[in-house]
Amino acid sequence: MNGFIRYFSAVKARFKLKNYLTYFIFLAFILIFAPLGLTGSLKMSTEFMLEQIGYSIVAAISLSLVVGFLGELSLGHAGFMSIGAMVGALLQNKLYPSLSASSPFLALVIAMIVGGLAAAVFGFIIGLPALRLKGDYLAIVTLAFCQIVQTIFEQLPFFGGTLGIANAARYSSHKLFIVIFVVALISLVAINNFIKSKHGRAVMAIRDNEIAARAMGVNVSFNKIFVFVFSSFIAGIAGVLMAASKNTVAANAFTYNYSIDILVMVVLGGMGNINGSIVAATLITVLNISLNNVFTGSMAAIKNIVYALVLILIVIYTNAPGLKSFREKHGFGVYWSKFTAKIVKLFSKKELKQDPAKEKEFGADWSKVPTKVEMDAILSTDLTPDKSYVSDKPAPDGKTDGSGKGDK
């Protein structure tokens, strides 16, 4: 009991709202939409969109673990999802007919765990070559894995062949999107906790410099395999959730293209930025659905072109060096930090300790690096504690004096 009190006081002492803001936004989102869903006042299409956003988020953050934090390119994430989806659907359909009928929610939870574990087994198998391969070569291995999984599922009659499994026993209700979002929140918390522990730091150390990580006693093999297993476990859960929102689960839903879709979410959100992945997953899913709604029938072919164009524009916007100054004023990160600062200010009585101007003073900034002439002036001046600095140069605007002292 005493331990618990100490634990919570330690947590409270170190609690920073900024670190937990994403969780609260997630919770607020769930609390807003849950009553609407429970009362059935949401349209079917909206519910479907929310479900899609939810499992895309789960898939994106799980891939973010491999791509953003371990620094390995994986093009086969849809493969892990399809294993989860297939195993989960099969389990709900065939193995638990009685349970699925009486308590579909429990069946879904069991399916999530079993599907996740099945995917994790394959994550372990893919993690083994990751010990030897790097970069492009590992990407090709994962790509091949995705194709192999898809082909095997399409050939096995046990999994319904190309038609897939008719997902009759799934947990279908207006509450599904709430379940998906709760699962997304839990996996987000789990991933964030992992990243912010010593194991997560070891993983990032491997990403930054594997040789140094080894020399610092980091168990590289274990950490790499664990990241693959953890990531594919969550991807498997995402697959089960995806299957739950569809009438039939077929292997052709989890193609190479879908892997790329998830990868795009991670890359656009920023490598190693989980919150970014969540936002990107949401935006891309909404974009996809709205384009689907706009371009119907014979116009459907245009949809892919528009989608690709929008993606290209986003990539240019987020990466082009020419837009750097514009981004610094109007980028997503700027608005996000402004927003967090506002929220934190709203909830905390204390004044903000961090002052952006002060932060800039310590950060690397090329604009304050003195020129050669200025540097000579600084170095040639004899500085003693009781003698204040006077520049040799005549001050052009009267402030050289102050800045010179600051530089020293």
């Binding site: 010593k198 930054d208 080894r214 020399a215 610092m216 006693g217 310590f362």
Partner: protein, 258 residues
């Protein structure tokens, strides 16, 4: 007789037909400041890599405190008590300064905490995490890096990156510290500062240090004993003064009169 920390017996490796190092016999006693010098390509870094387990020795053995560590993995060598820095700085660039040090602290038996505990944030996790952070802060304070602890390691100036690398190596709680050309790329002023840092590490951390260096001023300033390598062989070894006045050594460095 003082405790022998590191001993190598006829240590050597051949890459195909090329013997990059052969018959290297080092004996480093606790508290030593031991220098390993030699012209370019003499095999100094190869010897480091053999000791730390980057390469598996073709011949010979390595003993750490009497224990045979020949052919152990880099991770195990580090856990057994050998930490190193690199010739070209290898920090975890995209992590903050304090996190760099905390990576080094992770294997400390005081901060045991498994992955499940981390994911569920148990009290044990909170305790170790806070303790690790405090420990890292203390180390950084010693090296004068406390102010910069939340900066990315990449943004530090060169001299401070060197210091951080040493701090990170010390965080793994080693018995022996290997420094691979710590003064490379430094100006005389920075070298002087580094010399002070190394002296201070030796004294305050009670550390045994083996260093590779080209800067003779630094070597003669801080090393007690030297081994000179040339073409993978030991040319001579002994007290710093004797070695540096040895005509063979001068010949290896400056060339023959003819």
């Amino acid at each position: 007789m003082a405790e022998i920390i590191l001993k190598t017996e006829n240590l050597g490796i051949s890459f195909g037909g090329l013997k990059a190092a052969e018959d290297v016999n080092l004996e480093i006693v606790k508290g030593d400041m031991y220098g390993l010098i030699g012209p370019n390509g003499a095999g100094k870094t190869t010897v480091f890599n053999l000791i730390t387990g980057v390469y598996k020795p073709t011949f010979g053995k390595v003993f750490l405190c009497g224990k045979d560590i020949t052919g152990e993995s880099q991770m195990n060598v580090n856990k057994l008590g050998v930490a190193r820095t690199f010739q070209n700085i290898r920090l975890f660039n995209n992590m903050s300064v304090i996190k760099n040090v905390m990576v080094g602290l992770a294997n400390n038996p005081d901060y045991k905490c498994n992955i499940a505990q981390s994911i569920f944030r148990t009290p044990e996790f909170m305790r170790t995490e806070i303790a690790m952070r405090e420990h890292a802060k203390k180390l950084l304070e010693v090296f004068g890096l406390l102010e910069e602890r939340n900066q990315l390691a990449y943004n530090l100036p060169y001299g401070k990156q060197r210091k951080l690398e040493i701090a990170r190596a010390l965080a793994t709680n080693p018995k022996l510290l290997l420094l691979d050309e710590p003064a490379a790329g430094m100006n005389p002023h920075e070298t002087e500062e580094l010399m002070e840092t190394i002296k201070f590490v030796r004294k305050d951390f009670d550390m045994t240090i083996l260093l590779i260096e080209h800067d003779m001023k630094l070597v003669s300033g801080i090393c007690d004993k030297l081994t000179v390598l040339n073409f993978g062989h030991e040319l001579c070894k002994g007290e710093t003064k004797e070695v540096l006045n040895n005509p063979e050594v001068i010949k290896a460095y400056l060339g023959d009169e003819n």
